[in-house]
Amino acid sequence: MDWMAWTLPTALFFAAIALLLAGMTMWELHSPGAERKGFLPIDTTRGDRLFIGLLGSAYLHLLVVGVTDWSVWIASLLSLLWLFAVMRWG
């Protein structure tokens, strides 16, 4: 796997995504969810909310990195809050 030029942070990132997907699959198998309407303007399932949360987090990182000179950790912290808010109330 050397050709993939792994680094520890990217390995941790992909491991977190894989664990998240595995966890969501187990959660769905254990207690199947249904579509619901929260503060997002569309009906969403858990999977939809996770996707929106992750996509929003990616854009949040781009915004912080591209427009401000803040640390990337601030973007990560805001992303966690955003992901939690979307999963809980989205």
Binding site: M4, A5, W6, A58, G66
Partner: protein, 288 residues
Amino acid sequence: MSKVHNNKAWWLVLPVFLLVAFSAIVPMMTVVNYSVQDIFDQSSRYFVGVDWYRQVLQDPRLHDSLLRQFIYSACVLLIEIPLGIAIALTMPTKGRWTSLCLIVMAIPLLIPWNVVGTIWQIFGRADIGLLGWSLNQLGVSYNYASNTRDAWVTVLVMDVWHWTSLVALLCYSGLRAIPDVYYQAARIDRASAWAVFRHIQLPKLKSVLLIAVMLRFMDSFMIYTEPFVLTGGGPGNATTFLSQTLTQMAVGQFDLGPAAAFSLVYFLIILLVSWLFYTAMTHDDKTR
């Protein structure tokens, strides 16, 4: 009677998943790895965090390319979608001309991108090209190699020539799927042609049009070969779109780290737009 859930069917998705993992997910993970490193070869690479992202997002060359790309895609959609609908409405629905019309419409779609670029490169030349020579003979100063406006018009007309057929054929299939009872009811109400279009044909075409808009947006947003062959991105950088900027960065300058960061930003834009279209389409299906 209770519905039987058999999740074993998901195993049938496994071959596709492996194929996608091999051809898309693993390469994309590699791009992510490259995007956080200053990398020359496997033995000399250094972790730089988000520096490449910062550099790329603050690069005026990327801003210009992105703006050009959005303007180009908007122009493509604004021209090709109405034109495709208009052509579909005027295409014959029965008789021997139908097949001929469909074949003629399909021909541009069969021509490879680089051939289309070459055709228009010669066609537009002021000295030997039929279009360029004719326009100059008519007194219209036209030279796509040196004039920005001419280059843009040529690239756009070339795209319209190549891809409007796709929109027209999609709309044609959508129009043929409308049951005749709708038209019968419209005739009883003595509805005008505009009223039939506005209240019957256009609403029934909505799903097809969403697919057409999505396909044309994605394709025009990733355009590379045709403008590269036709203008080489010029004059200056006037027709240098995102793909070409990315290629220059990755292959021309061998800046693998910034190019990887750039391609991920590019991917996120495409992903967002595709998701918006997908959501609009599935929402439309649910509300029916």
